[in-house]
Symmetry: C2
Subunit: 82 residues, 2 copies
């Protein structure tokens, strides 16, 4: 069954307090390899039939309109797997 | 600046009510191309220096121990970008 993966991240100019909290926790735990953490969402949309242009267009549409909030988030990737 | 992307998804055998809610909303909105939606997390870890084996090992360690809850989630991908 093909799956369309949509990745949504908070915009670069926003603070992302959740990521900041994880980055702080990593520092306190002695993990020093990473200078920053940002946390977004990954959606896996299962497609029943083949992935054609119409399905991809619909995926792009809902990624922009429903799965992400364009005021604070960017859709960073739409990818077909399998 | 290299970034390590860690993808975490709810385990396949769990219900994922958030994904179910989105799938239901898509149906009500007339979007019929997708039979299921699952929602996970995408972490972007910024690395200051080069990504060597030690940094990758540390990323795998925190992906399993800190970024995911192994009772309900699976780490589905660890990938270096840029």
């Amino acid at each position: 069954m093909p799956t369309i993966v949509v990745d949504v991240m908070p915009k670069a100019e926003l603070l992302d307090p959740q990521g900041k909290a994880v980055a702080g926790a990593l520092g306190r735990l002695g993990v020093d390899a990473f200078s920053g953490v940002r946390i977004g969402k990954r959606f896996e949309l299962t497609v029943d039939g083949p992935v054609d242009d119409a399905v991809l267009a619909q995926a792009e549409q809902i990624a922009a309109d429903i799965l992400s909030n364009s005021v604070i988030e960017d859709v960073v990737g739409i990818e077909v797997v399998e």
